[in-house]
């Protein structure tokens, strides 16, 4: 059974310059203890998608519409603001690029962690304290008990992200949504955090939705991949299929434009020309057509739908040979 199911998500923002179509009808689903990576460049709509699932987009400027949004058998769109908030803290954990967004700078880490235990899990103050120490220990913070008395600014960047993860997993969520959780970290610290996420996932069987621009991170921890471009899903499938039998020219070009550390000499770079499209002014055809090396006349006719191009693998390109 799917843990998270999202169908036909549209998000538009009203801005000074008019309506920006950030997400244009995307579907995604996620099973228990599965890691789905949502990959894209800036402006692809990947973070907006995550925030839309969490119901965290600003009500005033964002217009969110979806055909279905189900989590753990419940219809999230039917929930009240109050119920959504309860769910966000408990069944869905969140980790952001900047852990300070989820930490209160004037409260100790211990206070913030034990508060979650008291509010969401109905613990007494003493058990919540122990629970908090266990959590810090679990995310690999040395001398967990002593550090409960520290304030967020007393932790280094990597440790702070660990605290952020501890907050997110405090209620043993079924789903963890992580938006660029390692982008601000150094590579050796990133490796630690990714390792930690993988361990926690194996232990708690939670599903992870990882939003990132880093294809290396995706290759390291994702089971399934969703590639976004200009607000649409252009390719999706198992990580192995997407990386080794790439269907969409955009994904292929993206992979080619990343210099590979594991190859002695990769020859000249083949960058993608141009820049990502302006979501204020999307053309009618395939949004990647203006930058694509394989562009044909029919690419400009309409956005090609996702077509099956292998087992557990779909791509949105007119060149994809659909397989049964």
């Amino acid at each position: 059974m799917q843990l998270l199911e999202l169908e036909g998500l549209h998000v538009a923002f009203s801005t000074d310059r008019g309506e920006a179509k950030a997400v244009n009808g995307i579907d995604l689903s996620l099973k228990e203890s599965e890691t789905l990576a949502v990959v894209g460049e800036s402006g692809s709509g990947k973070s907006v998608t995550a925030l839309a699932i969490l119901g965290l987009l600003p009500k005033r400027t964002a217009m969110v519409r979806a055909d279905a949004l189900r989590f753990d058998g419940r219809d999230l769109m039917a929930l009240s603001e109050e119920q959504l908030r309860a769910m966000r803290g408990k069944d869905i954990g969140m980790v952001f690029q900047d852990p300070m967004t989820s930490l209160n700078p004037v409260l100790t880490i211990g206070r913030q962690l034990s508060e979650i235990g008291e509010v969401h899990l109905g613990m007494t103050r003493a058990t919540a304290q122990d629970h908090a120490a266990d959590l810090l220990d679990q995310v690999g913070i040395p001398q967990a008990k002593a550090r409960l008395r520290d304030y967020p600014h007393q932790f280094s960047g990597g440790m702070r992200q660990r605290v952020g993860i501890a907050m997110a997993i405090a209620c043993k969520p079924k789903l963890l949504i992580a938006d660029e959780p390692t982008t601000a970290l150094d590579v050796t610290v990133q490796a630690q955090v990714l390792e930690l996420l993988a361990e926690l996932q194996a232990e708690m069987r939670m599903a992870i939705m990882l939003v990132t621009h880093d294809l290396g991170v995706v290759a390291r921890i994702a089971d399934r991949v969703l590639v976004m471009y200009a607000g649409s899903v252009v390719e999706t499938g198992s990580a192995e299929a997407v990386f080794s039998r790439t269907g969409m020219p955009y994904t292929r070009a993206l992979l080619r434009s990343v210099p590979r550390l594991d190859q002695a000499d990769e020859g000249p770079l083949r960058p993608i020309r141009g820049s990502p499209p302006d979501v204020m002014r999307l053309a009618k055809g395939c949004s990647f057509a203006p930058r694509c090396d394989l562009v044909e006349a029919r690419c400009h006719l309409g956005q090609p739908p996702l077509a099956r191009c292998g087992p557990d693998h779909q791509a949105a390109c007119v060149l994809v040979e659909p397989t049964a």
């Binding site: 460049e41 490796a191 434009s257 594991d262 000499d265 960058p271 820049s275």
Partner: protein, 334 residues
């Protein structure tokens, strides 16, 4: 070696003030005794994590930060701030004056340094520079906010080129850009080097772009260079424990390779450069540190021509920290 830029025992220490009355107490040793050479037309990649001092080193080379020790030589003469050494900054939006048109930003250095005389000659040069970085002449009268990140970085490159420099320090010049745009800028920098014979100091925390553009790579940790080698040699045969851990930490965009890799996960973060430890600075996080690493600072030893490292266990690393990237096996892929 015919070095264009030479750093000899370069040090940049920042005083730490504690309280109003106590004055100076201690120093942050951002750069602590670095000796490096860059040959004319060469790209030296400088890699390290945040706080290792790589940006401070770059700022000292262009003269934005005053060294507190050692010397910087350019063409065997002590360096003073000079149009021949320019910088490309990390954040293309913050490095352009928001109220200055692109044309004005590029023409300014041409005029200030007296490189062209007369309005027509300056404008012609400005158009030449725009063309060189792949921007149309119509960009002249536009403001930075009208451009994408990649285009702004091109403007920053044109402004640096307007000074007709010999050396360009690229301080995280592509890390703020989208993946597809990074490759464009790296390709542009390579193209310009070929045409103009530029020398680059390419500073980055991300090894991807750095590996592509560099001829030699230097690895920095807590204010010191721990390993320098020709690029292919460094990636194929890293001889410092930190370099090996760093390479192992970087994920490769291929799930099959990733599944087979052996990882070296370091514990902890980079310690503060305010009070570096004795011995090898990496010993607090090093998985293979021995007593000697804690007490004695490692000698600078040459492993093969041009490959230097400062690690007591350089000769045993292949067995101690098995090859993380398995270069040879993955080469044939794809």
């Amino acid at each position: 070696m015919n070095a264009l830029i030479e750093l000899r025992d370069l040090a940049v220490h920042f005083p730490v003030h504690r309280g109003l009355m106590s004055g100076t107490s201690g120093a942050i040793k951002a750069v602590d005794g670095v000796t490096l050479e860059i040959a004319r037309g060469e790209t030296l990649g400088l890699v390290g994590e945040s706080g290792c001092g790589k940006s401070t080193l770059g700022r000292a080379v262009v003269g934005l930060t005053q060294p507190t020790g050692g010397t910087i030589l350019i063409d065997n003469k002590p360096m003073t701030r000079d149009r021949r050494v320019q910088m490309i900054f990390q954040d293309p939006s913050a490095s352009l004056n928001p109220r200055m048109t692109v044309g004005a930003a590029i023409a300014e250095p041409v005029r200030l340094n007296g490189l062209r005389h007369g309005r027509a000659a300056v404008v012609a040069r400005m158009h030449e520079l725009l063309d060189l970085v792949g921007l149309p002449q119509s960009a002249t009268h536009r403001y930075p906010h009208e451009f994408s990140g990649g285009q702004r970085q091109r403007v920053g490159i044109a402004r640096a080129l307007a000074c007709e420099p010999d050396v360009i320090v690229c301080d995280e010049a592509v890390s703020a850009l989208d993946v597809s745009i990074q490759a464009q800028i790296v390709a542009l920098l390579e193209d310009l080097q070929g045409r103009l014979g530029l020398t680059y100091l390419f500073i980055a925390h991300d090894l991807g772009a750095l590996k592509h553009i560099s001829h030699r790579v230097a690895v920095m940790y807590l204010g010191k260079i721990v390993e320098v080698a020709p690029k292919a040699e460094l990636f194929a045969n890293p001889r410092h424990a930190y370099t090996r851990a760093l390479l192992s930490a970087i994920p490769v965009p291929d799930p099959m390779v990733e599944r087979q890799r052996k990882r070296i996960i370091l514990s902890g973060d980079i310690p503060s450069p305010a009070n570096p430890t004795s011995g090898c600075r990496f010993h607090t996080r090093c998985p293979v540190a021995i007593d000697r690493c804690r007490s004695d600072e490692p000698d600078w030893q040459e492993m093969s021509p041009g490959h230097h490292t400062a690690c007591w266990r350089a000769n045993e690393l292949v067995e101690l920290m098995p090859d993380a990237l398995s270069l040879s096996t993955s080469d044939a892929r794809r």
